[in-house]
């Protein structure tokens, strides 16, 4: 039930954000402060999610094969690899390290 609740509420919130842009007068969203925060929000969230998914496990911080996988994915990004390649390189590296251990 928790999952369906999260899916429903998250979907509703995301839809309302899309609809707000089409419905609200432009001046509400065009304020410099609102624009600035909106540009920074994805950066903060994506950076936090990247870090948490790499080194946290429940309420602990752990270093494991994920870190090596993400580092390999970062190298692929620097080499301008497409999205699916970045993800595959990260997964493959982590899987390989686990096999070798």
């Amino acid at each position: 039930m928790t999952i369906w609740l999260a899916v429903g509420l998250g979907t509703l919130a995301c839809y309302l954000a899309k609809l707000a842009g089409l419905s609200l007068p432009a001046r509400v969203l065009e304020r410099p402060r609102v624009r600035h925060i909106a540009a920074l929000l994805p950066i903060a969230l994506l950076a936090a999610l990247t870090a948490l998914q790499t080194v946290s496990s429940g309420s602990r911080l752990v270093i494991d094969a994920r870190l090596a996988g993400v580092a390999a994915g970062a190298v692929a990004l620097l080499l301008r690899a497409p999205f699916i390649v970045v993800v595959a390189v990260a997964a493959g590296t982590a899987a390989l390290i686990r096999v070798l251990n």
């Binding site: 919130a13 899309k18 994805p42 429940g58 994915g73």
Partner: protein
Amino acid sequence: MSPEHRSPILRNALAIGAATGAYALSFGALSVAAGLSVPQTVALSLLMFTGGSQFALVLTLGAGGGWVPASGSAALLGFRNAFYGLRIAELLGRPRGWRRLLTAQFTIDETTAMALGQAEPAASRYAFWATGLSVYVLWGAGTLAGALGAQLLPDPRALGLDAAAPAAFLALLAPRLRGREPWLVAALAVAVALLLVPVVPAGVPVLVAGLVAVAVGLRGTP
């Protein structure tokens, strides 16, 4: 619009759809690995239909977060679509009634980029809908295929899927890291989130990291 104007737009729309379809494969697989069912996973792609938010939601749930941080982080990431909506309203001439409700659902990164890239209003409208439909169909199909595929896997960790998730976020983040302020916000968000991991419930560190963006935005805007 003449056919010779339409066909390059259509080609681009299909190419973008194919790329997001591949991305959807990884979303479907990660969602099932995070503990969502196949119907829940596909429902997200068809109803929420905005990739970053979907990833945030399923991975927060997978990390043990409750419905508040899960839907909250999805909502915060989805906030940017409001700004795409502004541009789309200008380009498509402020749609009304049921048209507006439908246009809203398709207002995402890809459709906005394609609509903005056209020289005339008719081409923008065509690009918006062609890209929207192409991405919607292939995003849904890719999600279903990825979710069904992941169900067959004995242990997602053995395939390194738990490293694929943060790599996906990193790939979404990388193009936004231009200039000093984005790097500062990213570093602060990471530090705050990691410091909070041992002391607050799962999922909450992401929401607090979002407040970092709000705080920096409020301070730094003239």
